[in-house]
Amino acid sequence: MNSISRLKILLVEPAHLLRRTVSLTVHSLGTAEVTEAAAYATAQQLCEGQRFDGAVVALDWPPLDGVCRGLSLIQQIRSGESASAASIPVAALVDSCNAELLQVLRACGISRILIKPFRVRDVIDTIDGMRGSARIQ
């Protein structure tokens, strides 16, 4: 049985206050079940073991050491190397966005880009918007 309450979302966001507020609010609204990851390594492990209907991923862009772990995570999902369908909706949270990043995100099939400063409300609306495109398990 498909149900709104069963929408499972992975939220990857190192910023504690933003991540916790989104997760607590979505939980209280009952619109989705959010699994939080503060670190990309944790998110990768979660992706390998759990099936999600959508993901919201903060990107470490520009990457400090040449490797954007957020993009690696999204590519892991898109290449089918996760427990989730490769086509799940993925939204990206970024500090800023230039043409290069936009091109990369388009190639990754990102469904929405939120550029700081954005509000908790924007992230919640983004998660709500995934309901239409997600195939709820």
Binding site: L17, R20, T21, L24, T25, R119, R121, I124
Partner: protein
């Protein structure tokens, strides 16, 4: 103006407030971050973590207000303590409790107020996380849920030391 009544558990509430050693303590980043975050999220000029003492309200964290305390008699937050839910005042000028409150008639010219009671696990409300604007407005269901989430994070921070020492 209607002065706020005292909660039924006022005595126990004050005992807990004093136990937590919060009043008249220096600003702390963990609380400052929350009021700054809330002020930005809701686009309000004033956001406070207000603790209600016996005869005053004292601000543990504040954005947009110079005063560090006010009298309890004129406190919106002291009214918010009396309920479990967010106290929402869309337009203070239209509310008999607040229309002639000095904070409405004069600076900071409060029109909108939303205060989420900082209620601990034992049902004792220490104060509020509150939003203030100088123009009338309201909060929809999602905004109320966001304010409640931020309130829950404040309560966790306020009581974290107590929880740690209880273990």
């Amino acid at each position: 103006m209607i002065k706020p009544a005292l909660p039924a558990n006022e005595k126990e509430r004050l005992v807990l407030l004093y136990e937590l050693l919060l009043l008249d303590t220096p600003p702390e980043e963990r609380f400052d971050k929350i009021v700054e975050f809330a002020s930005s999220e809701f686009n309000v000029p004033i956001c406070l973590i207000s603790l209600i003492d016996a005869d005053r309200q004292w601000f543990k964290a504040r954005v947009g207000l110079d005063a560090c305390e006010t009298e309890r008699d004129v406190s919106f937050c002291a009214h918010a303590l009396l309920g479990d839910d967010i106290l929402l005042v869309p337009d203070a000028l239209l509310d008999p409790r607040f229309h002639d409150n000095p904070a409405v008639a004069g600076p900071p010219h409060v029109r909108f107020y939303a205060g989420a009671p900082l209620t601990c696990g034992d049902g004792l409300a220490l104060g509020t996380l509150c939003l203030v604007d100088t123009v009338p407005r309201t909060l929809d269901a999602v905004e109320r849920a966001i304010l409640e989430s931020l309130r829950d994070l404040v309560v966790l921070e306020l009581t974290s030391h107590r929880a740690a020492t209880d273990e």
